[in-house]
Amino acid sequence: MPNTTLLSNDFAAAPVSVRRRLTNMLATGAAAGAVLLVLLSLGAIFVYLVYKGIGAIDWNFLTQIPKPVGESGGGMANAIAGTAYILLIASAFGVPIGIGAGIYLAEYGRHRFGDIVRFTADVLNGVPSIVVGIVAWAVVVVGHGFSALAGSVALAIMMIPTITRATEEMLLLVPNTVREAAYGLGVSRWRTTLSITLRTASSGVITGIMLAFARVAGETAPLLFTAFGNTYWNWKLDQPTAALSLQIYVYANSPFDEWHRQAWAGALILIVLIVASISAVRLVAGRGMLKGAN
């Protein structure tokens, strides 16, 4: 008599062993548990921020600058604007340099010098943000004073390695046959890289940029002795500038209850701004995507 569980034609009806079913349940359960844990911690942070911060958010908070110690009211308008301002300038430096370096590594960097650049980028990625702040302080601040520019430089330095490596990896995912198609049409190499390869990889590159952006958007340490903070409006590149993270840091360390509440509100606004800007970029970039494109 042959082993009927293996050889019978109606194998679908054959019973699944208890051991296999148990393993399946365990593995599924573990995966679901991990997902739950991630969602829960994210959700907990957000719920707690809303709970603590929403009460302090009103029109004044969004439109006014801080009041002096002892006066109630005031807001973080200048810090919100300052964060946006610093991030914009940091991106203006960091995104092109990061993409450029990524293109170099992917398209031209198949040799020793490329490996050195890759290694450097990875090390730079691991440098603590406070150290980056000190470097920016030593290079930009000393002799010129605290400024929005110095803060932007510090954040740009932190963005570059993430963008570089993401760009490189995304470009390497573009099949060589796509490059060859362009070469075969008589398209020059630089044009192929920019108009074909980078464009094909664009959704991945944008994800990389957003990761770098989100990572530095809430950074406090590199801004402490670069942008420094400011209780008034400032739009000048060479003047100290307020930033949400700095304001949160100062207010959270203060002895005043109202400032604590405003710190929570600032944190909530910061998160909302990051999520909103990432969603906006995704939406705009997604509109260019085609049906059936991968």
């Binding site: 796509v178 070469y183 085609l290 059936g292």
Partner: protein, 252 residues
């Protein structure tokens, strides 16, 4: 109109490995010429030397004389200039995935700075008609990505893209090897019509295909051109023993 191709003393290398040895061949204008041979015999390398695609591979180089019409392609012109006159269709369909069907066809012209919108519309339609794809895609030209088409359609799209730059020669590197028989049939029909306007060089693994579409056939073995003659002669009375062994299926 197509132009003839004269190849003299062509050698090609990958690093230190020589892939082609002293190739001499005269390819007739406005005919289809098939290149056959077992895997690794250098037939792909050979056609890639005809539009200087070979040198895009790191450490690959070629030496010798290749004349396309009046132009000596390894002397005094740039590779990009040459490739605009010679279309190429690859083994695996490779449409640009982020571009629409329209933009795929127009890409060769657009990326080289051609801006006349109305002329582009005409050229795109004409090229798609040449490639027998127009009827299937005319309603979704600007909506769908080139990558959303089926494999056979993608390959015809790639042919249309190559034709849009109005080349004199069309190189096809195993254009049907990733396609089903119906798509293959369509592309073979296409080759018949295309050779009225272009000179075609087609690499193929499939000997029946060579005998169906090509007037001339070259047999490559281990980087050498063993025999080159009328297709009929190659498949009925080859003059070289090794050609005979290959086409009768004794090896390869």
């Amino acid at each position: 109109m197509g132009v003839g191709i004269q190849v003299e003393k062509l050698d090609a290398w990958f690093g230190k490995t020589q892939a082609l040895h002293d190739i001499n061949i005269n390819i007739a204008a406005n005919h289809a010429t098939a290149v056959i041979g077992p895997s690794g015999c250098g037939k792909s390398t050979f056609v890639r030397c005809l539009n200087r695609m070979h040198e895009t591979i790191p450490q690959a180089r070629a030496e010798g004389r290749v004349r396309i019409g009046e132009v000596d392609i390894y002397n005094g012109t740039s590779a990009t200039q040459i490739r605009r006159r010679i279309g190429m269709v690859f083994q695996k369909p490779n449409p640009f995935p982020t571009m629409t069907i329209y933009d795929n066809v127009a890409s060769g012209l657009k990326l080289n700075g051609f801006r006349d919108r109305r002329r582009l519309d005409e050229i795109v339609e004409r090229s798609l008609r040449y490639a027998a794809l127009w009827e299937e895609v005319k309603d979704t030209l600007r909506k769908k990505s080139g990558a959303s088409l089926s494999g056979g359609q993608q390959q015809r799209l790639c042919i249309a893209r190559a034709l849009a730059v109005e080349p004199q020669v069309l190189l096809m590197d195993e254009p049907c090897s990733a396609l089903d028989p119906i798509s293959t049939g369509k592309i073979e029909e296409l080759i018949f019509q295309l050779k009225e306007k272009f000179t075609i060089v087609i690499v193929t693994h499939n000997m029946q295909q060579a005998s169906r579409v090509a007037e001339f056939t070259g047999f490559f073995l281990m980087g050498k051109l063993i025999e080159f003659d009328k297709t009929e002669k190659i498949f009925t009375t080859p003059s070289n023993k090794r050609t005979e062994d290959y086409i009768t299926g004794r090896f390869g």
